[in-house]
C-alpha cells in the first residue's frame, strides 16, 4: 500500500526498481538487507551489470588505436558515453568531459594541471568548512608547495555555509574557489549558484565537487556557470574506477597535462612532444573502457527514472527519516540545514557510532559509522564520529522503520 502510494504520488515504481538491484535481495546476519550507505557508494542495477558483461563478452577491444572493426565499434561506444555525460550535465561540448578514476582524481587533476601553473606565492584558495578530505588535501598540498594560502568558509550550527563570511574572504588574491554541492557527512545542499556568481564578479574560477549532487539532482553546468565540476560513477549506480571532470574549454586549453604517456600526444620525438587537444590531453594510457561503458548504462538508467522524480522521492525519504529519527530518545541529528539531500548523520550522547554500526549490522542494516572523510566537520561539531544513514530511490519507508527499530535495539543493549 505504501509503495503503491509512492508510485502514484512520486512517479517511481519502487518495487519494480528494487527488482533491478539483485544485491538488495539477500539476508545479512539472518535479516533482509537494509542498505543505507548510499552516500559512500550505490548498488548496481541489472542494466549496468548486463551492459558490462555483454561488452566484455562480445564487444571488448581497445579504443582510439585499432584499425579493425571491433576497435572501431568499441571506440564508437566509448565516445558515445562522453556525449551522453555531456548531455547528463548539460556541458557545451563532449570535449569538455574528461574521464578520471573518480571525483578524487578529478580534483587532483585540477590541483595539478590548473593549480600548479596558475596559483603562486601569496595567492589564496577558498574552500569550505564542510568539505570531504578529497576537496581539502589537494589544495592544502598545493598551497604548501606554492606558498599560497588556504581560506575556509565557516558553517553555522545547522551545517550551512555563512555566505556573508564568504564574501569577506574573496579578495584580489583569490585564485580559486572549491566547494562541494552537497556535503557527504551533513547532507547540506550549498547555494553554489550564489557562490559561483560572487566569485565570478571578481573573475575567480569555481570548482564544484559534485560527488554527492550527481546522484540526487539534475545538474546544468552551463546554467550554474561553474568552471569545473567533478563526480564519480560508483555513486550514481555505475562502476567503480570511473569518474568525470567537466571543465570549461578555455581552462582545459590553458592547463598543463596531468599524466603523460600514450594517447595524450599529437606527436613525439626525443626532443619534443606536442599534446593532443582536450579531452585526450588529460587521458594518458588505455582508459577504463568497460567502466566508461558501464557509466553510460548507469546514466541511461537514471535518466529513464528521471532525476526530478528521484529527487522528489528521496526528499520524501529524507522528511520521513528525519521525522522518525527525531522521535528516538537521545538521538541528535548532526546537519540540520534547511536544504538537504537524503543524508542523515546522527549521534547518541553515550553510544559510540561504531557500536551503533555493529549492532545495526547484526540486524542486517548497513550504515556508515566514522568521520566520513570529513574530520574538520567532526571537529566543528565537537564529536569524534557520527552514524550516517543515506537514502537512495530504492529505499522505502519500511526500511526506515527497520532502522528506527534497530536503533531502539541499540539503545536497549546499552541501557
Amino acid at each position: 500500500m505504501v509503495q503503491l502510494m509512492e508510485k502514484c504520488t512520486i512517479g517511481l515504481d519502487v518495487a519494480k526498481i528494487r527488482a533491478d538491484f539483485p544485491v538488495l535481495d539477500q539476508r545479512i546476519n539472518g535479516y533482509p538487507l537494509v542498505y543505507l550507505d548510499n552516500a559512500a557508494t550505490t548498488q548496481k542495477p541489472w542494466p549496468v551489470i548486463d551492459r558490462i558483461r555483454d561488452f566484455y563478452a562480445h564487444e571488448y577491444a581497445t579504443v582510439r588505436r585499432g584499425v579493425y572493426s571491433m576497435s572501431a565499434r568499441a571506440t564508437m561506444a566509448y565516445d558515445q558515453v562522453r556525449e551522453q555525460v555531456a548531455g547528463f550535465i548539460h556541458a557545451a561540448s563532449p570535449h569538455e568531459i574528461i574521464f578520471t578514476k573518480g571525483t578524487t582524481e578529478a580534483i587532483n587533476l585540477v590541483a595539478y594541471s590548473y593549480g600548479r601553473p596558475f596559483i603562486g606565492a601569496g595567492d589564496e584558495i577558498i574552500i569550505s568548512a564542510i568539505e570531504h578530505h578529497a576537496n581539502i588535501v589537494p589544495w592544502q598540498q598545493l598551497c604548501q608547495e606554492k606558498g599560497a594560502v588556504l581560506k575556509v568558509i565557516p558553517a553555522n550550527e545547522a551545517g550551512e555555509l555563512l555566505i556573508d563570511e564568504y564574501a569577506k574572504l574573496l579578495t584580489d588574491n583569490t585564485k580559486l574557489v572549491a566547494v562541494n554541492y552537497v556535503s557527504n557527512s551533513l547532507g547540506t545542499i550549498n547555494p553554489v549558484k550564489t557562490i559561483i556568481d560572487m566569485a565570478h564578479e571578481r573573475g575567480i574560477p569555481v570548482l564544484i565537487d559534485g560527488a554527492q549532487s550527481a546522484p540526487h539532482m539534475a545538474v546544468d553546468v552551463q546554467a550554474l556557470d561553474c568552471d569545473f565540476y567533478a563526480f564519480s560513477g560508483h555513486k550514481i549506480y555505475g562502476p567503480t574506477g570511473i569518474g568525470v571532470l567537466y571543465a570549461k574549454m578555455k581552462h582545459l586549453e590553458a592547463m598543463v597535462p596531468y599524466q603523460c604517456g600514450g594517447d595524450m600526444i599529437e606527436s613525439v620525438t626525443f626532443e619534443h612532444t606536442t599534446f593532443a587537444k582536450p579531452p585526450h590531453k588529460f587521458e594518458a594510457g588505455t582508459p577504463p573502457i568497460a567502466e566508461v561503458i558501464g557509466l553510460g548504462a548507469a546514466i541511461d538508467y537514471l535518466e529513464k527514472l528521471g532525476l526530478n522524480n528521484i529527487q522528489a522521492y528521496e526528499n520524501d525519504l529524507l522528511a520521513y527519516g528525519t521525522e522518525q529519527l527525531q522521535q528516538i530518545e537521545g538521538l541528535q541529528i548532526i546537519g540540520t540545514a534547511k536544504h538537504k539531500a537524503s543524508v542523515i548523520s546522527f549521534v547518541f550522547p553515550d553510544i559510540h557510532p561504531h557500536d551503533v554500526g555493529t549492532i545495526l549490522d547484526q540486524q542486517g542494516i548497513a550504515v556508515r559509522a566514522g568521520h566520513h572523510c570529513t574530520q574538520p566537520v567532526m571537529e566543528r561539531f565537537h564529536i569524534p564520529a557520527t552514524t550516517r544513514a543515506s537514502f537512495s530511490f530504492y529505499n522505502t519507508h519500511d526500511e526506515i522503520d527497520r532502522l528506527v527499530e534497530g536503533l531502539r535495539h541499540v539503545i536497549a543493549v546499552f541501557r
Binding site: 553510544i351 574530520q375 569524534p384
Partner: protein
C-alpha cells in the same frame, strides 16, 4: 535478534559504562598515546613501573567505542601488579585471540576475564578497537614511542 550478543557481553557493556582505572597517574614513569586514525579513537596509557619491573599502577584516559574502552579497562585491571614480562605475554595472547589465532579454551593462557573478548574474532573490522589500548600499553612499557597508531 537474540538477546545473547557474542560481542556485546554484559561485562563489556559494564566496563564501557564504568571503566576502571580511568584516570591520569601524575608523574607516571611510563606513558604513551595511542590513536586509531581510521575512526579517530584515542587513549593515553599511564603506568608506574618499579625497579623490579613490576607494574605498580596503570591507568588510561581517552575516548573510544564500547569495545575499545572496555578492552582498556579490563587490560588495566588485569595487568596491575604484574611484571612487564608477564604483561608482554598477556598482550601477545590477547592480540592473537582477537584475531582468531589463539584459542583460550584449548590452550593454557594468562587471560583471565579477558577471554570475553574472544567474540571480536568474528568481527574483523572491530579488531583494531579491541587492540588499541594494548598497542598503546606496548609503546608505554617499551618506552621507545610516545605516540603510536593501530596502523604502525
Amino acid at each position: 535478534m537474540s538477546e545473547y550478543n557474542e560481542l556485546y557481553q554484559q561485562v563489556i557493556l559494564e566496563h564501557n559504562k564504568k571503566p576502571r582505572n580511568f584516570r591520569v597517574i601524575e608523574g607516571a614513569n611510563r606513558y604513551a598515546l595511542g590513536k586509531n586514525p581510521l575512526c579517530g579513537d584515542q587513549f593515553a596509557v599511564y603506568a608506574q613501573v618499579d625497579d623490579h619491573g613490576v607494574i605498580q599502577d596503570i591507568s588510561f584516559q581517552g575516548m573510544g567505542c564500547a569495545i575499545s574502552k572496555a578492552s582498556a579497562s579490563l587490560m588495566t585491571s588485569n595487568i596491575k601488579g604484574k611484571t612487564q614480562e608477564e604483561a608482554e605475554v598477556i598482550k601477545e595472547e590477547f592480540q592473537k585471540m582477537v584475531m582468531g589465532e589463539f584459542h583460550p579454551e584449548q590452550q593454557a593462557n594468562h587471560l583471565g576475564r579477558l577471554t570475553i573478548f574472544e567474540g571480536v574474532k568474528d568481527y574483523p573490522v572491530r579488531v583494531k578497537c579491541a587492540t588499541l589500548a594494548w598497542h598503546t600499553l606496548n609503546a608505554a612499557l617499551s618506552g621507545t614511542q610516545q605516540e603510536v597508531t593501530t596502523e604502525d
